[in-house]
C-alpha cells in the first residue's frame, strides 16, 4: 500500500485542484481526499507537487520511453506510419507489447492497406490484436468513396477514426503554408484552406456514416470553426492540437529551420491565436505531442527534402503548463486535455483520479525550471523547434499500475 500525501490533487473531472492524499492498493486507487493513512503504508511526500493521472499522448510516431517519462506520459497511441505500416494484426500486436509493463503503447491501426488510401485494412482483426482506433496516418485519403467506407466500417466496430486533415490535391509537394515566409524562402506552399476542405469533407462523411471522427491536429481558425459547428450539431466529432501550433507561427521556419517543418505546416499568427482560443473555449479536446524524433539523416537536409515532425514529448507538459500560467485554462482542464479526453477517445480506463481507477499517476513539479536544449534531450533525437527556450515543469514521479517506475 502506497500513500501519496500533501499533494495537490488534479482530477480532470473536477473544477479545480484540491489538497489531500491518495492511497494506492495493488494496481488501483483505493482512496482519495481526507484519507486515513494506514501505519504500514509507504508514504510519498508530494509537497509542492501536483498529483495527476498519467498523460495519454494520442498520436506519437515513435515509442520513446525516456522522453515520455520526462513529461509524465504513461500511455501513448502509436501512429500507423511505421516501417512497415501498422496495417496488419501481427504488427499491431507486436507494437502493443513494446512498452509493457512500465509503459503502454496503444497502436492505431491503418485505415487502408499501406496507408495508400485505396483498400480497407483488416480493422476488426487489428482491433482484436490491440488497435484502439483507426487512423489515416499522416496521409490524406483522396477518394471520398474510400473514406466513407472506412468510416462506416470503423463505426460498426465502434472504433474512432483519427484523421490527418490536409487536402492532398492542394498540399501535394507543399512544405509550408502560403504566406510571406514561404514566398521569401522560395518554398512550395499550400493555402491554409487545405485543412478546411479536408475537415469539412470528413465531417460530412462521418455524419453520413454515423462514425466517430477525431481530427488529430486542427491548426486553423476555419478548421476550429467547423469542429465547433459539428459539436453544436451533436456529432461525435473531436479534435486535438499540439503545443507547436499554440506557441509558434510560420515565421519559425525562417532561415530554413527544418526543426520547425511540421505536418500540417505551421500557420500564421491569426491561426495560432485561434488555436489558443479553441483550447480555452473547449473546442479542442486533446493536447498531444505528435512526438516524432528525427536525427540529422532526416533533418539536416534542404528544407523541402527534410522529414516533417518534432521531438515533442519532453516539451508537452511544460508548454501545457504555459497555458495554465497564461490563464487560458486551469490545471484540471489541462489534465482533461492531456489524459482524460484522449483516454475516453481510445476507450481506455485511464486518465481518471477516482477510487477504483488504475493507479497510473504522475507527480508534476509545475515550477521546476529548465532550458530546452536540442543537444541534451531525453528523446531519441533533438529535433525541437523550442531549442534554448526557458520552460517550467516536469514529471518527478511516474507510477504505472501501482508501481513507481
Amino acid at each position: 500500500m502506497i500513500a501519496i500525501v500533501n499533494a495537490r490533487l488534479c482530477d480532470p473531472a473536477a473544477d479545480a485542484l484540491a489538497d489531500g492524499a491518495l492511497l494506492v492498493e495493488g494496481e488501483t486507487i483505493a482512496a482519495i481526499g481526507a484519507v486515513d493513512i494506514p501505519a504500514d503504508a509507504e508514504r510519498i511526500d508530494a509537497r509542492g507537487m501536483i498529483l495527476a493521472p498519467g498523460i495519454v499522448d494520442l498520436g506519437v510516431f515513435k515509442t520513446d520511453k525516456p522522453a515520455f517519462h520526462f513529461s509524465g506520459i504513461t500511455r501513448a497511441a502509436l501512429m500507423p506510419d511505421q516501417t512497415p505500416v501498422l496495417d496488419h494484426p501481427g504488427l499491431v500486436q507486436h507494437a502493443a507489447r513494446a512498452g509493457k509493463p512500465d509503459f503502454w503503447v496503444h497502436p492505431l491501426g491503418a485505415a487502408t492497406r499501406g496507408l495508400d488510401g485505396t483498400e480497407l485494412a483488416e480493422m476488426a482483426m487489428m482491433k482484436a490484436a490491440g488497435a484502439r482506433a483507426i487512423a489515416t496516418g499522416r496521409r490524406w485519403i483522396a477518394d471520398s468513396g474510400v473514406m466513407l467506407h472506412v468510416l462506416r466500417y470503423a463505426a460498426a466496430l465502434d472504433l474512432t477514426v483519427v484523421t490527418h486533415s490536409e487536402d492532398g490535391g492542394l498540399t501535394h509537394h507543399a512544405v509550408a503554408t502560403d504566406g510571406e515566409t514561404a514566398t521569401r524562402l522560395g518554398l512550395p506552399s499550400a493555402p491554409a484552406c487545405a485543412e478546411t476542405i479536408a475537415i469539412a469533407r470528413d465531417i460530412a462523411l462521418a455524419r453520413e456514416a454515423g462514425a466517430r471522427l477525431h481530427v488529430r491536429l486542427v491548426t486553423t481558425a476555419a478548421g476550429f470553426d467547423l469542429i465547433r459547428a459539428a459539436k453544436a450539431e451533436g456529432l461525435p466529432v473531436t479534435c486535438g492540437v499540439s503545443p507547436a501550433y499554440l506557441f509558434l507561427n510560420d515565421q519559425a521556419v525562417s532561415d530554413f529551420r527544418t526543426f520547425a517543418r511540421l505536418s500540417p505546416p505551421l500557420r500564421d499568427e491569426r491561426d495560432r491565436l485561434a488555436a489558443i482560443a479553441a483550447v480555452a473555449d473547449g473546442t479542442a479536446d486533446v493536447l498531444c505531442s505528435g512526438h516524432d524524433p528525427r536525427g540529422p539523416e532526416d533533418k539536416r537536409l534542404p528544407f523541402a527534402d527534410a522529414a516533417p515532425g518534432i521531438a515533442g514529448a519532453e516539451t508537452l507538459l511544460p508548454l501545457a503548463l504555459n497555458l495554465v500560467r497564461e490563464g487560458h485554462i486551469g490545471e484540471t482542464r489541462m489534465m482533461a486535455l492531456l489524459a482524460a479526453n484522449p483516454a475516453r477517445l481510445l476507450g481506455l480506463d485511464a486518465g481518471r483520479l477516482a477510487v477504483g481507477a488504475p493507479a497510473d499517476l504522475i507527480l508534476i513539479d509545475p515550477d521546476a525550471p529548465w532550458i530546452v536544449d536540442s543537444d541534451k534531450m531525453a528523446a531519441a533525437a533533438g529535433n525541437t523547434p523550442f531549442d534554448k527556450l526557458p520552460v517550467q515543469g516536469r514529471a518527478r514521479m511516474i507510477m504505472k499500475g501501482g508501481v513507481v517506475r
Binding site: 522560395g186 512550395p188 539523416e297 528544407f303
Partner: protein
C-alpha cells in the same frame, strides 16, 4: 586602393561588405549592393580589352563550382570570372558526382571543405541548400541559385545593366513578367531593385504568382498590358515548358497571347524602355525575336557581359580577407 574610404558611404575595407558569404540579396543593405555594383563596374573595361583579359589577384586560390543542377551559362560565367582573376577553377557536376550515389549534401560539403577550397560556388535545386552547405565549410560560399529562393549574382548583374543603360535607379518602373512563383531570379531582382529605389511591378498568370507577393513592396499584375504601361524596363522570365502542359497554364500559345512580349506590346512601355531576359529564351513564347534582337531596346547580351563582371567582383570581394588585403582581415 582597397583601403581607401568609399566616396559614398565613408566606409573602409570590410565595413563596405561585412559578409562572409553571398547567399542572397535579402541579407544585403542597399549600400552593400551599390558597393558590389561599383566593384563590378571596374571589371567591365578589363573584360573589353582586346588582348589579354587577365588579373592575377586570385592566383593560387582554388575555386570549386559545385553545380547540383544543370547549368551552362551561369557555370561558364563563374568559370570565366574565376579564370580571369587567376584562380584555379574546378567544376563539379552533380551528374558526375557521388550525389547520385546517395551521398548527403552535408557529406559533399565536408568533402569539398577537406579539399581546402578557397571559395565555393554552388547551385542546387532545393531552396536553402546553399545556406546549409555554407554553414559547414570554412571558406566563402557564393550562391549561384538555390531552388526558387535566390540567385543573387543574377539580381546584381541585372541591376548593373539597368544602371548602365538608365544612369540610375530612383523612380524607374521595372516590370518583371513570367513565372514569378518558381523564379529565384524574380525574387533576387525584387529585393535588389526595390532596395535600390526602383518601382517594381510583377506580372504573372494567377497560377504562377506567389502568395503575399505585395510584402516585397512590389505591385502585382495579371494583365501584362497594364503592367507594361509607362515602364522603363521590361524584364521577361523564362517559362518552363512543363508549366504549359495544363497544370499551371492551358497552352504555350495562350501564354504567348497573354504574356508574350511583342514589338506591338512594347509600345505601351516608355519609348526608350529596355528589354531584359536572364536567358535562355523561349523565342516565340515569352519574347519575340523582333524585340529580343533589337539593339536599340534589348539589353540581353549586355546582361551576359555584366554577369562576368559581377561574378569577378563577388569572387574578389569575398576572398579579400583570405588574401590579406588591408582592411579586410
Amino acid at each position: 586602393m582597397t583601403s581607401a574610404a568609399s566616396p559614398d558611404t565613408g566606409l573602409i575595407g570590410r565595413a563596405n561588405f561585412p559578409h562572409r558569404h553571398l547567399l542572397g540579396i535579402a541579407n544585403l543593405a542597399p549600400h552593400e549592393i551599390r558597393f558590389l555594383l561599383d566593384e563590378a563596374a571596374r571589371w567591365v573595361a578589363l573584360n573589353r580589352t582586346e588582348s589579354r583579359k587577365h588579373d592575377g589577384r586570385l592566383a593560387g586560390l582554388t575555386q570549386i563550382n559545385a553545380f547540383f543542377e544543370n547549368s551552362t551559362r551561369t557555370l561558364l560565367s563563374f568559370e570565366i570570372a574565376g579564370k580571369r582573376l587567376g584562380a584555379d577553377v574546378v567544376n563539379m557536376h552533380a551528374a558526375q558526382s557521388s550525389v547520385k550515389k546517395g551521398e548527403t549534401l552535408i557529406d559533399t560539403a565536408v568533402t569539398l571543405n577537406s579539399m581546402r577550397a578557397d571559395v565555393i560556388v554552388i547551385r542546387h535545386m532545393s531552396s536553402g541548400a546553399v545556406q546549409l552547405i555554407a554553414d559547414k565549410v570554412d571558406c566563402p560560399v557564393l550562391n549561384a541559385g538555390d531552388g526558387w529562393h535566390e540567385h543573387p549574382t543574377q539580381g546584381l548583374l541585372d541591376a548593373l545593366t539597368i544602371r548602365r543603360r538608365k544612369g540610375g535607379f530612383e523612380g524607374l518602373i521595372v516590370t518583371i513578367c513570367g513565372d514569378i512563383l518558381h523564379s529565384r531570379v524574380a525574387r533576387s531582382n525584387m529585393l535588389c531593385l526595390t532596395a535600390l529605389g526602383c518601382q517594381v511591378r510583377v506580372c504573372a498568370p494567377p497560377t504562377l504568382m506567389p502568395p503575399a507577393i505585395e510584402r516585397y513592396r512590389v505591385t502585382p499584375f495579371t494583365d501584362f498590358d497594364a503592367a507594361l504601361d509607362g515602364a522603363d524596363v521590361a524584364m521577361m522570365l523564362r517559362i518552363q515548358n512543363e508549366r504549359m502542359e495544363g497544370g499551371f497554364l492551358p497552352s504555350s500559345r495562350e501564354y504567348h497571347m497573354l504574356y508574350g512580349l511583342t514589338p506591338e506590346r512594347l509600345k505601351r512601355a516608355k519609348p526608350d524602355a529596355i528589354v531584359m531576359h536572364p536567358g535562355p529564351m523561349n523565342r516565340g513564347i515569352e519574347i519575340l525575336s523582333g524585340v529580343a534582337d533589337d539593339p536599340a531596346r534589348s539589353a540581353i547580351t549586355e546582361q551576359v557581359e555584366m554577369g562576368v563582371a559581377v561574378r569577378m567582383a563577388c569572387l574578389d570581394v569575398l576572398t579579400r580577407g583570405q588574401r590579406g588585403i588591408e582592411g579586410w582581415a
